[in-house]
């Protein structure tokens, strides 16, 4: 308990956080026999009040935008302490292709601050080879 005290104190300070976001699961993979593969992720609002978030796709190891990925909804306002599933669709998969990318979530009304906090989920879609 003594070791946990500083952490609990920090979490207590987080009662009215300056910035907060949650997302899960942190990784997911799936196989499809079509040119599309969908994934559900869960966006989490730790704030006690409604907060706007945005989700976007980037490369597996870089920040390059991923136009082949569609996210529904890409922008959403979540009620206080609420969660919501978002649908991520990897499109234009070629037969036999394995496509890996990340979907990141963050507050969409980021103020002028030092830290931009975000959570990213690693997704991997594989299309079966054509017959």
């Amino acid at each position: 308990m003594k070791r946990l005290a500083p952490l609990l104190a920090a979490l207590a300070l987080a009662a009215t956080p300056a910035l907060a976001v949650g997302l899960g699961p942190l990784s997911k993979s799936g196989i499809t026999d079509s040119d599309r593969k969908g994934f559900f992720l869960t966006l989490i609002n730790p704030y006690p009040s409604a907060t706007p978030y945005r989700a976007y796709a980037v490369g597996e190891e870089d920040e390059s935008p991923q136009p082949r990925v569609r996210i529904v909804p890409a922008e959403v306002t979540l009620g206080g302490r609420a969660t919501r599933r978002i649908l991520v669709i990897a499109q234009e998969l070629r037969p036999g292709e394995e496509y890996a990318f990340r979907v990141c979530a963050e507050r969409s009304d980021i103020e002028e601050g030092m830290i931009n906090a975000r959570v990213c989920s690693r997704l991997r879609a594989r299309r079966l080879p054509g017959a």
Partner: protein, 156 residues
């Protein structure tokens, strides 16, 4: 006597329905599921203050403060990445000015001041980072507002 036996057989199921079973025979099950996830909470914004010399603006100068970032992970220990810090400053900012961050965490992460991207592999599911930042400009600073920015990413 035969009539009594038939009645007893007919009533028996009713008795069984109305007499409560012993408490020890009842199973009480509470179930729950947790989503593998990561939650980042920035509880305190950092504040930069100029040093006395003044070639440094930093959160560790007198009057400044560090940023506090709590990490709550469920399921697996994540990695927390920090992008290379950048400066938002006024026009006339010296081209030699450099942004740096350093951080420590209750879980044992310890990064000295760096201007590059860095990461911390978590060894625990709950952790809190203390993040300091500074701008070093050997030629001094133009008047205006300065912000050091870094993107903190929780991922596997």
């Amino acid at each position: 006597m035969r009539i009594f036996n038939e009645s007893a057989i007919a009533i028996a199921p009713l008795v069984a329905l109305t007499v409560p079973a012993p408490a020890s025979a009842a199973d009480v099950t509470l179930r729950g599921s947790l989503l593998s996830s990561c939650l980042l909470t920035l509880s305190t914004e950092g504040k930069l203050v100029a040093s006395s010399d003044p070639t440094v603006i930093g959160s560790e100068e007198s009057g400044g403060n560090a940023a506090l970032l709590a990490v709550v992970a469920v399921g697996a220990t994540p990695t927390v990445n920090f992008s290379a810090p950048t400066i938002d400053g006024p026009a006339g900012l010296d081209s030699g000015a450099q942004a740096q961050i350093r951080y420590t965490s209750l879980g044992g992460s310890n990064q000295s001041y760096t201007s590059s991207a860095s990461s911390s592999s978590q060894v625990r599911l709950l952790d809190t980072f203390t993040i300091n930042a500074r701008i070093v400009s050997p030629n001094g600073f133009a008047a205006g507002n300065y912000v050091v920015r870094t993107t903190t990413t929780c991922q596997q």
